[in-house]
């Protein structure tokens, strides 16, 4: 591994230095959320974890994550015991910030380990020797991903750890002897976002399952999250908004109730004025349908590559059709897709719009002025460096008619990002001040949705035609 420059270790050191400098940066309410969870898991008996509600930020992640917080709490008390008090709402002493920020960096080492240990063996090509270079580039791109920088190290979350588990399980699944561990690890990994029986055992015993599930699956919340994640529903909402203007001319019926409560599409329930309402059941069935579609392919052709593809497609399906999807969930697609992006030029073609759209869609998470330069410049440098590197490393495809159109689409798409960012971050403020705040968000997510859906269509085509 070390024969490639720069090595993963070198990148990790430089990135760590940069992340340390970001300690004083903006942190979202997620910081307080996690501090509260630290306090809950540290100071209360397990039975009360999912009932405690002193803070509005109740524990709503699965049990393994709660255990993870409990472990962190064991260290946290040496830094500042005051952060472990449930009543200490909004507490953020210097020690608390330093501890929580460094806990993100420390747990992210698992991701580093997973990449360092396993990715060089990832068979992107038949010849293992020639696949090492691309695999190395992929490893660097994942570790340095702007997604982690924005979501984990500024906004504040523990995705680095989570995706470390995911990648570890994916790579362990490759060799027959370690497949068992892989399943276990994957369950752990999914457990943090999804379901795992073992973790819920004690809560089942105590009869707390309904309470737990109501916390984990917030169907009472709206279809779209506060900042519309760039999925099908973002495009759907966008079309609805456009139809409000167009509908009178086409004589379409308009739901007046929705018009008055055009909550500016931001918080809570999204109601549609022209298009039919979307129910949780619809989103669930759609997600399930597309996931099963990719699993059928995996069944008929159980190779490692199909496995990676199926994971990516399951991520796509949940992200695109899920209920109340967070924009951060795009990493569920980007990270597994990265592992396949260098398979050949066609895959890279589908990856490019996703890389741009996925990361641009994270921008609204950081809306404060000082972080503007960090998020944009970091993302642009990452895109420039890795898309160029990938381009140089990918193996050419002999005959490919789709390439021309797709490449043009990608090119136009990427260029549009520049005026879009300029508008959403600067021009809108100058033109409208604080009015129409939903506009930049809507443009941003609709734009990103086009990229994500476009890459999804491209990837599906590659996956099912392979």
């Amino acid at each position: 591994m070390d024969k490639f420059h720069p090595s993963l270790r070198e990148c990790a050191i430089a990135a760590t230095a940069f992340k340390l400098l970001l300690f004083p940066a903006y942190k979202s309410t997620d910081f307080e959320v996690h501090r509260n969870w630290l306090a809950i898991t540290h100071s209360l008996p397990v039975k009360e974890w999912y009932y405690e509600k002193t803070s509005e930020w109740t524990l709503d992640y699965p049990p393994f994550f709660a255990v993870f917080e409990w472990i962190l709490g064991q260290v946290a008390r040496f830094f500042d015991p005051a952060m472990l008090d449930v009543r200490n709402l909004g507490y953020d002493s210097v020690q608390t910030v330093y501890f929580q920020r460094s806990s993100v960096m420390f747990t992210e080492l698992l991701l580093l380990y997973a990449l360092q240990k396993h990715l060089p063996l990832c068979p992107l090509k038949f010849d293992p020797e020639s696949s090492k270079r691309p695999a190395h580039a992929v490893a660097l791109s994942i570790f340095l991903s702007p997604g982690f920088l924005i979501v984990d190290h500024i906004h504040f979350q523990y995705n680095g750890f989570l995706y470390g588990v995911l990648i570890l399980s994916i790579t362990l699944a490759r060799s027959p002897s370690t497949r068992l561990y892989s399943g276990f690890l994957f369950a752990l990994g999914v457990g943090i976002v999804g379901i795992i029986a073992a973790a819920f055992g004690p809560f089942l015993y105590w009869g707390q399952i309904p309470q737990l599930l109501s916390r984990l699956f917030p169907f009472s919340r709206g279809l779209c999250h506060a900042y519309w994640a760039p999925n099908i529903w973002a495009i759907y909402s966008f079309i609805d908004r456009v139809l409000i203007i167009v509908a009178p001319r086409l004589d379409l019926p308009i739901n007046q109730e929705a018009l008055t409560s055009v909550t500016r599409g931001l918080v809570g329930d999204t109601t549609f004025a022209v298009l039919p309402e979307i129910t949780p059941r619809t989103t669930f069935l759609l997600t399930l349908f597309f996931q099963i579609l990719s699993l059928i392919k995996l069944w008929t052709n159980p190779t490692y590559e199909t496995f990676l593809g199926a994971i990516t497609l399951c991520g796509y399906a949940s992200f695109l059709f899920g209920w109340h999807v967070h924009e951060k969930a795009i990493l569920l697609v980007v990270i597994p897709f990265s592992l396949l992006a260098l398979k050949d030029r066609r895959y890279l073609g589908a990856f490019r719009p996703l890389a741009v759209a996925g990361h641009v869609s994270l921008f609204p998470l950081l809306f404060t002025a000082p972080e503007f330069l960090i998020k944009t410049v970091y993302t642009i440098s990452w895109l420039v460096v890795f898309l160029t590197a990938f381009d140089a490393l990918v193996s050419p495809v002999a005959v490919n008619t789709r390439r021309f159109l797709l490449d043009r689409f990608t090119m136009v798409f990427i260029i549009v990002a520049i005026p879009l960012i300029a508008y959403t971050s600067l021009a809108h403020k100058v033109l409208f001040g604080d009015r129409y705040e939903f506009l930049p968000l809507m443009f941003n997510s609709s734009y990103s949705a086009v990229g994500v859906v476009g890459s999804w269509v491209g990837f599906c085509w590659l996956f099912f035609s392979a």
């Binding site: 940069f18 400098l21 970001l22 004083p24």
Partner: protein
């Protein structure tokens, strides 16, 4: 394998172009910074080097800027941040004739006119964004987050308009005459742009040193590309931005004078140069005189040269302050006497580099010459600040653009590390401990400090000795001997001054010796240009 001498001034008469950029099999230079640029060697990706380096520079500068600044939330006087903001307030609200007179007790303007114009421009721009930031009197001591962001942005913009282009041009021009490969030039550019001391003072502590340094560097760029009149013009601008640039004035004077005498006397050139300097100063002072009247010049000069102040203010690692534990200068001698002593000592200190440059006015000696001259001033002149170490440090780092062998890299990075350490008391006061630690360690690691020591045993001894004593001082200050502090509150500062002074003396001698050696090298062989 690469020889340790790659990129040195070795005569390459047979091969006009260095081969490193062509060969793909060669390993990276043996320090991590070079490793990062390694994938960008190939011709197809070389265009990436500059944009990526610039973006990384922006990121680190801005990230440092997220931290506190000098005088943040520190009433009653605040600090340099307030000084700079106050000058924007003064210049945008008052007529030019009051600029150098307005309430001098509260951060009165004491920089030359170009700083005043710069402040005025920034104040006008800032006033459009938020007029509250620069309301006369009412805005004093403002600690607004948005204001901080704006001010940080002005530093970044000023640096990227002046200093950064100057560095890029310098590395290209200087690297070309030293026969560096494109890859080596990229590494040198990165090493100069990532210099921690300038970064933390401008973007952490808060100042606009990069403008002054950038203007001097532009002057050097002009000298290297044989535009000596433009060079003199830019150097005058540099002095007119911050009088500190006078540290460089003798050496630039010696160089230009040398050009008028070697290889044969050229009186018209001398006259033209003199005229350029006078006209440039005239241009700089013209707006002030036109809008404020003639008497502004005298007041400006009076404000700019504070001979009324003492030999030093805060403790600084120069000769006077370091020797003060043995001889209490300020108690034993009166201020006029000390002024004379420091004048003479400085003159003696800068005489050797100035004579070398006068007798060998060669472009490739410029960075070392500037560094040697500035070290002389730093060591012996009057009213030196700890931040003034940037003046010798920046040209010392520029040496990398001509030579990237392990020995040079290890010396230059050592000087950067020690310079960071010497500013620790200041940075700690500003609350920049985190930024100090991260930037120092990062740069030390990037430059391979932990892996390479100089070739000579004496160098090894000095480097290891200084690193150990720096670590011990930091460790002791952080964890041990808290009781001692009550008795000697200045203990750590004095330790810092003594260690830094010892190191700076070695650094100064190294620069002088290097300058001497380089100047001899040119003698033996016919000139390449």
């Amino acid at each position: 394998m690469s020889s340790p001498q790659h990129g040195a001034y070795k005569p390459r008469t047979k091969k006009p172009k260095a081969t490193r950029s062509v060969s793909f099999s060669l390993p990276a230079l043996p320090f991590p910074l070079a490793s990062f640029l390694h994938p960008l060697r190939s011709a197809s990706s070389q265009w990436l080097v500059l944009p990526v380096l610039l973006m990384v520079s922006i990121l680190f500068r801005w990230a440092v800027g997220l931290g506190p600044y000098s005088g943040m939330a520190a009433p009653p006087m605040h600090g340099d941040f307030e000084a700079q903001r106050h000058w924007m307030e003064v210049t945008t609200n008052l007529p030019a004739k009051e600029w150098y007179w307005h309430d001098l007790e509260w951060w009165g303007l004491d920089y030359p006119p170009l700083t005043a114009y710069h402040s005025w421009l920034l104040g006008v721009i800032g006033g459009v964004i938020n007029p509250d930031w620069f309301v006369l009197f009412a805005s004093r001591g403002l600690d607004d987050v948005a204001l901080k962001t704006f001010m940080r942005a002005t530093v970044l913009a000023s640096e990227f308009l002046i200093y950064v282009p100057a560095v890029v041009i310098f590395v290209r021009a200087f690297g070309r005459q030293a026969d560096l490969s494109k890859y080596d030039k990229g590494v040198a550019l990165a090493a100069i742009l990532m210099q921690p001391a300038l970064m933390i003072i401008d973007h952490g502590h808060f100042q606009y040193n990069s403008v002054m340094l950038g203007l001097t560097l532009l002057a050097v760029d002009c000298f290297i590309t044989e535009h000596i009149y433009w060079g003199s013009f830019f150097f005058v601008l540099s002095i007119s931005f911050k009088q500190m640039a006078l540290y460089y004035a003798p050496i630039i004077f010696a160089y230009l004078l040398g050009l008028c005498v070697h290889p044969n006397t050229n009186i018209p050139r001398l006259v033209l140069l003199g005229a350029t300097v006078i006209v440039s100063f005239g241009l700089v002072f013209a707006p002030l005189v036109v809008f404020g009247g003639k008497e502004q010049i005298a007041q400006c000069l009076f404000r700019v040269f504070p001979f009324a102040r003492g030999l030093w203010e805060d403790k600084v690692a120069n000769f006077w302050c370091a020797a003060n534990i043995l001889i209490k200068f300020r108690e034993r001698f009166d201020s006029g006497m000390l002024q004379k002593a420091s004048l003479i000592a400085t003159f003696v200190a800068i005489l050797p580099p100035c004579s070398i440059l006068f007798f060998n006015p060669q472009k490739r000696l410029l960075p070392l010459g500037l560094a040697a001259c500035a070290w002389g001033f730093f060591m012996f002149s009057f009213q030196v600040h700890e931040k003034s170490v940037l003046l010798p440090l920046v040209p010392t780092t520029l040496v990398l653009a001509g030579n990237l062998d392990k020995n040079t890299v290890s010396w230059v990075s050592w000087m950067n590390n020690v310079a960071m350490f010497s500013m620790w008391p200041l940075l700690r006061r500003d609350g920049l401990q985190l930024q100090y630690t991260v930037l120092t360690l990062l740069y030390a690691w990037l430059m391979g400090t932990f892996e390479h020591l100089p070739k000579h045993w004496f160098g090894k001894l000095v480097h290891v000795g200084s690193y150990v004593s720096i670590l011990v001082t930091h460790f002791a200050e952080a964890f041990l001997l808290k009781g001692l502090l009550q008795e000697y509150p200045d203990l750590w500062v004095v330790a810092n001054v003594e260690i830094s002074f010892g190191c700076f003396t070695v650094a100064w001698i190294w620069v002088l010796w290097r300058l001497w050696k380089e100047s001899r090298k040119g003698r033996k062989k016919p000139k390449r240009e």
